[in-house]
């Protein structure tokens, strides 16, 4: 076979072979993306673009019972070890001397809390924390493989099949909201209970909160509880100077909270 012949036959063989290969790949892509297409709705009758989710937290109402963190574990299959959590509660103790002590009560929820000498305490309160689902999320910016992203309804998710486990996002999150899931070997975080929210249910932590310290809602809807919460309270977010535009809004937030 001379060169001319090889090129001729090669060109003839290339086009159908490529077409077959391409058809196979299209099929695989379609099965991954599902019938509704790449940007369509995840459940029938739900349009992600019509929503923009956020959470409100009323610090004064939190009693530090840690039911939110436990419910989150039960709902989302978070590893059982006490130091893995997608949401957690911190106890802030401001002393007479001016120093502030922070204790994460979710690490040892049922055990003895650190004893306090009440004469030294100036004020003390609980602050529930979780992923802030920032509108400008640093974790999304730094992911080298695009595994973490913001959905059309404003929820920051991790694609565990694409995540390479480099932990860059865990370092980048200014709120410490991410952890490394040793089961999947990927980064893990709060999803606002996305599987519940699209079905019209509340996130598990909001569902079980006994004092309604947590409020979940849609910022695009004027009638949502969160919009009312924002209207009725003085609102602050964590680390506003970082311009991450967090969507977890705190009412009665103390200046000591970081």
């Amino acid at each position: 076979m001379n060169k001319r012949e090889f090129l001729k036959k090669g060109a003839i063989a290339f086009i159908p072979a490529a077409a077959v290969l391409q058809a196979l790949m299209r099929q695989a892509e379609a099965s991954v993306a599902g019938a509704a297409g790449a940007t369509g709705s995840p459940t029938p009758g739900y349009e992600p673009r019509d929503h923009w989710y956020g959470m409100g937290i009323e610090v004064e109402k939190c009693i530090g019972c840690n039911r939110c963190a436990e419910a989150c574990k039960a709902e989302n299959d978070v590893p059982p070890e006490p130091f893995f959590f997608r949401t957690w509660v911190e106890r802030y103790t401001v002393k007479q001397s001016g120093e502030t002590e922070v204790e994460c009560i979710s690490v040892n929820p049922r055990g003895e809390r650190k004893a306090q000498d009440e004469r030294e305490v100036l004020r003390s309160f609980f602050v529930p924390k979780l992923c802030n689902h920032c509108a400008h999320a640093p974790c999304v910016q730094v992911c080298p493989v695009g595994a973490t992203f913001t959905t059309a309804d404003g929820v920051v998710l991790v694609d565990s099949t694409r995540c390479i486990g480099c932990r860059y996002c865990i370092q980048a999150c200014p709120y410490g909201a991410r952890f490394f899931n040793h089961r999947t070997n990927t980064a893990d975080k709060c999803t606002f209970c996305y599987h519940r929210v699209v079905k019209g249910l509340l996130p598990a932590c909001v569902e079980v909160c006994p004092t309604q310290a947590r409020v979940f809602g849609d910022l695009r809807s004027k009638a949502s509880r969160l919009v009312r919460f924002q209207r009725m309270n003085k609102i602050n977010v964590l680390k506003p100077a970082l311009n991450t535009e967090p969507k977890v809004y705190y009412a009665q937030l103390d200046g000591e909270v970081r």
Binding site: G37, G64, A71, E75, V158, V198, A204, E207
Partner: protein, 244 residues
């Protein structure tokens, strides 16, 4: 001007390669290789498909109407059933074989109701060591309508912090009723029927003004002492020597 033949030939080859490259890029390579939309929608789908474990606040109502109505009128009206009974979506689907958790021992209620200085003021809290030790909470309190079985007679049952402060002060021997009058309603609805507080300087003057009967109480000249201020703007009545 006519182009030399070698230029036309190389132009044909270049055009062919360019067409092939464009064909491969835009037709042959699947979109998933360069667009994030495909794997993002797959992630969303995976998330949505995850099982729901908490059935939600209204799921219990249909079968457990009695408990639901009782709870709706009590202090626990804001609690979801699953706050205490745990995730119950499995029970809602198959009520007979899957039973939710029902807390009956003494460990469960203090998770919320044990005293912690960081808990908000007014939230009902107990000292687990002194509050009926070893007795399960449900022997006296119905968790679906948790009113105290008997309204406490002592003010200290709710106002423990003040009681502890007063106990160390010169006012230790004064009953609360010396200065406060609490109506009966205050025991049932503490915040809507507040007890009275002294309103005037003359009230403290009953013991502390010069020439009054009580020999142990320090005396001041009411007319000149403290100017226009009320007594408790400088002296904390529950610990009067604390702020001289």
């Amino acid at each position: 001007m006519k182009l030399p033949e070698q230029v036309t030939r190389i132009a044909v080859v270049v055009a062919l390669v360019a067409t092939l490259a464009l064909l491969v890029r835009f037709v042959l390579i699947p979109r998933a290789y360069f667009s994030t939309a495909v794997h993002q929608s797959a992630t969303v789908r995976r998330e949505v498909a995850r099982p729901v474990n908490f059935a939600g606040a209204s799921a219990c109502q249909d079968c457990h109407a009695e408990e639901w109505e009782k709870k709706a009128l009590g202090y626990h009206k804001g609690l979801a059933c699953e706050t205490c009974h745990g995730p119950a979506a499995g029970h809602a689907e198959d009520p007979m074989s899957v039973k939710p958790f029902a807390p009956r021992d003494r460990k469960f209620c203090p998770v919320c109701h044990a005293y912690d200085a960081a808990r908000p003021t007014g939230f009902p809290q107990i000292n687990t060591e002194s509050h009926n030790p070893l007795k399960p909470c449900i022997t006296c309190h119905n968790p679906h309508d948790p009113v105290p079985p008997e309204t406490p007679k002592e003010c200290a049952a709710c106002h423990a912090q003040i009681a502890r402060t007063v106990a160390l002060s010169a006012h230790a021997l004064l009953p609360c009723a010396t200065c406060h009058t609490a109506s009966k309603e205050h025991r049932i609805a503490p915040r809507s029927a507040l007890p009275s507080k002294p309103q005037t300087r003359e009230f403290c003057g009953q013991c502390h003004a010069g020439g009054t009967a009580n020999p142990d109480a320090p005396k001041v000249e009411l007319a000149s002492h403290g100017g226009g201020y009320l007594c408790w703007q400088c002296h904390y009545p529950h610990l009067p020597e604390g702020r001289p």
